[in-house]
Amino acid sequence: MHHTTLNPIVQKIIDVTSQDTSLCYQCGKCSAGCPLRDFMEIPPNRIVRYLQLGLYDLALTSSTIWLCAGCQTCSSRCPKNFEIAKLMDALREISVEEGIQPKDKKVLKFHNAFLKQIKKYGRSFELGMVGDYKLSTGNLFQDLGLAPETLMKRKMGFRPHKIVGIEKIQKIFDKSMKRDTK
């Protein structure tokens, strides 16, 4: 790294990925293997290109970063060993910290609903998570058809299990996250 003054976003990307996006020569292998590519507005290699060109806003506001499922096919095939999946994590984290609202808020709402349960109980409480998610999206009828069978098979508990060390978990959350889950 020979930059004299680094943009905070570049610094954060380097912190999380330990890598330099300028090393990418745009072969496109990441996008060729990406299973979510068809659903993305721009392919993963173009996100990297935006960063190389300093177009951080375009990268951070793209729905691509939220559609990445973290499967890491890109990272495992990159000829420069660049971990694109980790880069997507870094961009999502930065966009949350910067308060940038994603175009499609559902993914962020899911992660918030999921983490909220962990912070509250120490473990995932699926029924609570689904409930929270539905409330936050207003999508109350989603998957309602599956509910009777799921509950009958007792695949979702009705009551959360709160772990004994829950205070420690809350401390971990408070110290790790700049913005609280909401």
């Binding site: 559609l67 096919t73 870094a90 899911f110 983490l115 599956l146 971990i172």
Partner: protein, 294 residues
Amino acid sequence: MNFGYYPGCSLQGTAKEFDLSLKEVLKVLDVNLNEINDWCCCGASSAHVMSHILSVALPARNLLLAKHRGMQNVVAPCAACYNRLKVSQHELKFDEKMRMKVEEILEEKISNGVEILNLIGLFQKIGLGKIKTAIKINLKEIKAACYYGCLLVRPHDILKFDDPENPSSMEEIVSIIGAKPIEWNYKIECCGASHSIDNTEIVEQLSKNILNDAIKHDANVIVVACPMCHSNLDMRQKNILKKYPQQKAIPILYLTQLLGLSMGLNYKDLGLHLHYINPVPMLEEKVKVEEVTI
């Protein structure tokens, strides 16, 4: 034999048949699991999206608990948990800045040393020879598509498990118990993971591709070792069948359930009644067992 055990949240909820069948199979193999006391969620597919440090700190707490109990190893049957525990351990070992931050958060010194095993790694430790001696039922009519998904094999640099592009360790186990693993193209393709909730139609599309490649290659079952994969291929298959009338159904079993079947364990103990796509008609046709009632 004794192993430390990290069940993870899914195995106590939507994937409880994974936990049930694992414990039944290990009983036959005379293997004990000691659960980590008061374990917490590993952060799964959400923590690493929202906060890198959180995704390292949550697994680190569980690894510390295992260490305090004197555990040499920890089995994490859920592929996502396995992945998060391994990645956290790796970062704490090789990234000193990260280790210091997490030590400050956990208010405890961190030292490495607990071996983390996925489901297949556990069976390899137990020994495929030992598994072979426990086989009672003929499964030769079972043609299994072994599905690894993402998290068992990637990132290879950290997990160092099997071949990241064409793994075969699950096929080896399936062969040992007398079933026929098939060759197919989608064994490491992504099912869409947690988009199951926020972008269901994407998961249905990706899962449909996986199901159809298995069917095209003549599989009569897909075998998995990940609760997320199972839920996307099994639960989401219900809707796929409804949307596409031409679509054929294919049951999705956990590797442990297939092992249990080969050992002659009964359907209910293996949790086979807990799937959305009922595997019993296929099993009744393909497997000669006395006990077929649920």
